[in-house]
Symmetry: C2
Subunit: 173 residues, 2 copies
C-alpha cells in the first residue's frame, strides 16, 4: 500500500471510531491528519486535505486544543498559525481520559449524589424506594471506582502505567 492511501484509510478509520464514541467525525479526522503529519499544518493545509471549510477547520482545531491534544505553533516571520498533534499516544490517551472524566463522569456522579436522597412518600411503597436506593447506590459505587481508576491513570507516569497493566494482563499464581 502507498503512504497516501494508508493515511487516507487511517483518517477514515479514526473518524469512524470517533463517531462511535461521541466525537464528531470531522474532529476525529482533523486529529488523525495531525497525528500522521510529521510537521505542523496550516488551516489551509487542513482545508485542502480534508476538503472542509475554513470555519469548520477553525472550530475543530480549537476543540482539539481544548482537549489538549493539539497545539498551536507559531513560526517567526509567518503570520498564520500552524497546528500540530501530540504524538505521544500515551499522553493523548491520558488527556482524553482526563477530559472525559471531567465532562461526563463528574456530571453523572453529581446527579447520582442528588437523587440518592429519596424521601419516603405516600405515593411510593417503602420497597420501591429501597429498590431504587439500592440500584443508585450500586451505580454510584461503580462510578466511584471508575473515577478513581481514571484519576490514578491520569496521575501515573508512563512506566507505572505500563508495568501495572502488564501485571494485570498476566496474573501470576
Amino acid at each position: 500500500m502507498q503512504l497516501d492511501e494508508a493515511k487516507r484509510r487511517f483518517i477514515e478509520g479514526w473518524g469512524t471510531l470517533g463517531s462511535a464514541w461521541g466525537v464528531s467525525r470531522t474532529m476525529a479526522q482533523v486529529h488523525a491528519l495531525l497525528l500522521v503529519s510529521p510537521g505542523a499544518l496550516s488551516t489551509e493545509d487542513i482545508m485542502e486535505q480534508l476538503q472542509i471549510s475554513r470555519g469548520n477547520v477553525n472550530l475543530n482545531v480549537r476543540a482539539l486544543m481544548d482537549w489538549g491534544i493539539v497545539r498551536k505553533e507559531l513560526r517567526p516571520g509567518e503570520r498564520r498559525e500552524f497546528f500540530s498533534g501530540e504524538k505521544d499516544i500515551h499522553r493523548v490517551a491520558t488527556l482524553i481520559l482526563q477530559e472525559r472524566r471531567k465532562r461526563e463522569l463528574q456530571p453523572i456522579m453529581r446527579v447520582l449524589g442528588e437523587i440518592s436522597e429519596v424521601e419516603p412518600s405516600a405515593t411510593a411503597t417503602p420497597e420501591e424506594t429501597a429498590a431504587f436506593t439500592q440500584m443508585i447506590g450500586s451505580i454510584q459505587s461503580f462510578a466511584n471506582f471508575a473515577d478513581r481508576a481514571a484519576s490514578t491513570l491520569i496521575k501515573a507516569d508512563e512506566n507505572w502505567f505500563l508495568s501495572t497493566f502488564m501485571k494485570l494482563m498476566r496474573p501470576g499464581p
Copy 2:
C-alpha cells in the same frame, strides 16, 4: 426528593451520558427506565413513561437486547412481551465492554494492521514513511493493550475484578 422526581432525573442524566458516548439518548433512557423499574415493563408502559412511539420503543428495546443488557420476559397467559433490565451493574458494564470491543476496537485494529504495511515509494521520502510506520505502530501497541485489558476484564469474575482494581487504586510499597 420524591421517588418519581428522582427516577425522572436519573433517566434524563443517563440519556445525556449515553449521547456523550455515542449511544442514542432514547436508547439510554429506555435502559435507565428499565434499570430503575423493579418489575418488567411492557411496550405500552415504556411508551407512556417516556412519551415515545411504539416503533421507537421496539427499535431501542431490541438494540438493548442485542447488547445483552435487557431481557424479554414472557408471562404465562399474557400474549404481550415484557422487558426487564439486567440489574447487576458489574454485568452491565461487562456486557457493554464486550460489545464495544467487538464493534469498535476490533475494526480499528484491522485497519491498523492493514495500513501498517506501507511500501516504499517514489512519491514519499523514506523519513515520511518511517514516521508514519512508527506512529501506526504505537497506536497498534496501545490498541493491543486496550484489547487485552478489555478481554481480561470480560473474562474476570466479579471478585477478581474488584480486588485487582482495588489493589491498583492503592498501590503499596
